[in-house]
C-alpha cells in the first residue's frame, strides 16, 4: 500500500463550553495516496466533523492531522488556507456554489484563490467543465442548473487547482438516482487519474465501490477494507 497522504493521530473534537459534546474520540487513521475511501456512519455520529478536521476547515480539540506529511493542526490560518486551495478540493452535499457567479466563474474563483494567473484561468476552467460534461453550461448560473449539474460544476471547481485530495461530503445525497449515477461515474473517472478520494456518506451502495471503508460510530472509528 502507498504511503499515507492523510493521517490523523488521536483526534478529539469537543463542541460547546458549558454543555460539552464529544464529537470525535481518539480517532487515528491513515489514508493512502491515490486511494478511494469512504467514511460511513449514521447522522450525528461525527463523520462530517472528521471530514472538516481532515480538510482543515476546523481545528481539533486535541490530536494531529497530517496532509502529505504536514501537520496542519499546527498551521497558521493563512497556511491552512493555502493547503485548502492547493492540496484539497471540496465537494459538498448542497453544492455550495457562489450563486451570483456563472459555472465558469465559480471555477475561476477557486483558481484565483489558488493563485492561477488570470490569463490561464479560462482555458483551464473550460477543460474542467468539459471533463464533467458541462461545456455548454459555462455561462449558466447555479439556479439555471439541475442538482446533478450543479454537483458536477462543484466537482470541476474542486479540481480547479489540481489538488491531490478530493474530500466529498454526501456528494450524491441531494440527487435523484440518474444524476447520482452520473456524478458517481465522474468521481470514479477522476479517481483513475490518481487523485485520493475521500467520501463521507451514509449511502452503503456508494461505499461498496470504495477501496477502504471507515465507519464512525459514536465518535469512534472502525475501519474495514
Amino acid at each position: 500500500m502507498n504511503k499515507p497522504i492523510i493521517q490523523t493521530e488521536n483526534l478529539n473534537k469537543i463542541y460547546g463550553k458549558k454543555i460539552k459534546t464529544h464529537a470525535l474520540k481518539n480517532v487515528s487513521m491513515e489514508i493512502p495516496r491515490a486511494s478511494f475511501s469512504c467514511i460511513i456512519g449514521k447522522s450525528g455520529h461525527g463523520k462530517s466533523t472528521l471530514m472538516h478536521l481532515i480538510g482543515g476547515l476546523d481545528k481539533p480539540t486535541s490530536g494531529n492531522v497530517f496532509i502529505d506529511g504536514i501537520n496542519i493542526s499546527e498551521l497558521s490560518d493563512n497556511k491552512l488556507s493555502e493547503i485548502r486551495a492547493e492540496k484539497i478540493g471540496f465537494v459538498f452535499q448542497f453544492f455550495n456554489l457562489l450563486q451570483n457567479l456563472t459555472a465558469l466563474e465559480n471555477i475561476q474563483t477557486a483558481m484565483m484563490f489558488g493563485k492561477v494567473p488570470q490569463n490561464e484561468q479560462k482555458k483551464k476552467a473550460d477543460e474542467l467543465l468539459k471533463l464533467v460534461g458541462l461545456s455548454d453550461k459555462a455561462n449558466s448560473k447555479p439556479n439555471e442548473l439541475s442538482g446533478g449539474q450543479q454537483q458536477r460544476v462543484s466537482i470541476a471547481r474542486a479540481l480547479a487547482n489540481d489538488p491531490d485530495i478530493l474530500l466529498m461530503d454526501e456528494p450524491t445525497g441531494n440527487l435523484d438516482s440518474e444524476s447520482e449515477d452520473e456524478v458517481l461515474n465522474h468521481i470514479l473517472e477522476i479517481h483513475k487519474t490518481g487523485k485520493t478520494i475521500v467520501i463521507v456518506t451514509h449511502n452503503k451502495e456508494l461505499a461498496q465501490k470504495a477501496e477502504i471503508i471507515f465507519e464512525v460510530k459514536d465518535g469512534r472509528l472502525n475501519n474495514f477494507v
Binding site: L57, N78, A85, N96, L98, E105, Q108, Q118
Partner: protein, 387 residues
C-alpha cells in the same frame, strides 16, 4: 477572475440596495461640496466687490461693528451712520478724493432692494460709471433713479418706468453699464433726495476714499483722524476682516455637512453588516476553497470603498449643481448679489473635487473596516453549516 471583478459582481447584484446606500453618501458629499463651493464663491465675490469699489480705503462711523464691514462690501444697510459735516471736513483735506454713501433698503417691485444715495457727479467720476441706456442725473437733487443692469433685469425695469420708494414716485432715468460689481444690483438716488425720502437728513453711512499717494497712507490717516472721529480701514484690511468672518461661517457650514457625511457612513456600515450576515455561507465557501482571511477582508473593504467612490463622484456633481442653484436662490431672497457669481469653475477647483472624492473614499473605507473584520473572522465550517 480577480478580486475587483468578484466585488463588482457582488455590488451590483442587489441594485436597489446599492443605489440607496450610494445615495446616502452621495447626498452627504453633495451637501459638503455645495456648502464648500458656496463658501468659495462668497469669498471670490467679496474679493471682486471690494476691488470694484475703486477705493483705497473706507471711512466709517467710529463705533462700527465688525459685521457691518460685510454690509459695506455688499451694499446692505449699516446700522451706524455719521454726520454729513464729517464728510465735508474730510473732503477739505489735501490729496484725498472722497465720496459719501447713504445705504438703505426698500421694496422695489416687491423685491428687497439696496438703495444708495450718492453725489451724482463725483460718484460718476470716482466709479468710472458708463451708461447702458437712458441718461445720467442732470443735477445734484434730481427726483430720478439710476439703476444697475442686474437690478433692471431682475425687476423687469426699463428707462422711463415709474417706481415707488417709500410712497414717492421716481422715474428710471438711466441704466448703468455693468461693471461687475455690486453697483449692478443697486438703485441709486442723488444723496440729498435719498436723505429726504428716508428721513436721514444730514447723515451718511460711509465714505469711500482714494489718495494720490498710497505710500503716504499713514499721514493721510493722521490727517483724517485730526479732523474727525472715524474708523478707517484700507481696502485690504476691510477685505481681510470680512474674509475672516466668512471663514468662520464656512467652517460652520462644513460642520453641518460633516454631520450628513457621518450619517451616510453609518448607512454604509449598516449595509455592509447586513451583507456580511446574508453572505455568511458564501464567505464560508470562499474560505473552504482556499480564500484567506486577508482576501475576505479585502473583498468587503473594496466593496465598501466602491460605495464611497461612486457616491463621492455623484455627490460632487450634484453638489456643484446645487451650489449654483442655491447661490442664485440665496441671492434672490437676500437682496445682494454676493452669490450671483457662484459657478463650478469659479468656486470649486479640480484639486478640491479630487480632495472631496478622496475624502468620500476614505470615509467609506473606514466604515467598511468593522464589517470586513467581522466577515474575515467567520470560521469556514460555521459559515458553511449555516442554512
Amino acid at each position: 477572475m480577480n478580486i475587483l471583478k468578484l466585488v463588482a459582481k457582488n455590488l451590483f447584484r442587489r441594485k436597489g440596495r446599492f443605489i440607496f446606500t450610494m445615495l446616502g453618501i452621495s447626498i452627504g458629499m453633495a451637501s459638503f461640496v455645495a456648502l464648500l463651493s458656496l463658501g468659495g464663491s462668497m469669498r471670490g465675490e467679496v474679493t471682486r466687490q471690494a476691488n470694484a469699489m475703486g477705493a483705497n480705503f473706507i471711512i466709517m462711523p467710529e463705533n462700527i461693528c465688525v459685521f457691518n464691514l460685510i454690509a459695506i462690501i455688499t451694499g446692505e444697510t449699516i446700522s451706524e451712520s455719521m454726520h454729513h459735516e464729517t464728510f465735508e471736513r474730510i473732503s477739505e483735506l489735501e490729496g484725498i478724493e472722497v465720496i459719501p454713501h447713504l445705504t438703505q433698503q426698500a421694496a422695489v417691485r416687491e423685491l428687497r432692494s439696496v438703495v444708495v444715495g450718492v453725489l451724482p457727479d463725483e460718484t460718476k467720476i470716482f466709479r468710472e460709471w458708463k451708461m447702458a441706456a437712458g441718461e445720467y442725473f442732470s443735477s445734484q437733487n434730481e427726483n430720478a433713479a439710476i439703476i444697475g443692469s442686474d437690478f433692471a433685469t431682475r425687476r423687469d425695469l426699463n428707462v422711463g418706468d415709474e417706481i415707488t420708494i417709500r410712497n414717492e414716485n421716481f422715474n428710471i432715468k438711466g441704466i448703468l453699464a455693468s461693471n461687475q460689481s455690486n453697483d449692478d444690483a443697486t438703485l441709486f438716488l442723488p444723496l440729498s433726495v435719498m436723505q429726504r425720502v428716508f428721513e436721514r437728513e444730514g447723515y451718511i453711512s460711509y465714505i469711500s476714499a482714494r489718495v494720490d499717494d498710497i505710500a503716504n497712507m499713514e499721514s493721510y490717516e493722521a490727517a483724517i483722524l485730526g479732523v474727525a472721529n472715524v474708523h478707517i480701514a484700507t481696502d485690504e484690511q476691510l477685505l481681510g476682516q470680512v474674509l475672516a468672518i466668512l471663514g468662520s461661517v464656512n467652517i460652520t457650514l462644513q460642520l453641518v455637512a460633516a454631520v450628513a457625511l457621518i450619517a451616510a457612513a453609518f448607512g454604509i456600515i449598516n449595509t455592509m453588516m447586513t451583507a456580511v450576515y446574508e453572505r455568511r455561507r458564501e464567505i464560508g465557501i470562499m474560505r473552504a476553497i482556499g480564500g484567506k482571511r486577508g482576501t475576505i477582508f479585502k473583498i468587503f473593504l473594496l466593496e465598501s470603498g466602491l460605495y464611497g467612490l461612486f457616491g463621492g463622484i455623484s455627490g460632487v456633481v450634484i453638489g456643484l449643481f446645487a451650489s449654483v442653484f442655491a447661490g442664485e436662490f440665496i441671492s434672490q431672497i437676500g437682496a445682494n448679489d454676493l452669490l450671483k457669481g457662484a459657478s463650478p469653475e469659479a468656486s470649486f477647483e479640480i484639486s478640491s473635487v479630487l480632495t472631496a472624492i478622496t475624502f468620500s473614499l476614505v470615509i467609506s473605507i473606514i466604515s467598511g473596516i468593522y464589517p470586513a473584520w467581522k466577515a474575515m473572522l467567520l470560521a469556514p465550517v460555521e459559515a458553511i453549516s449555516y442554512e
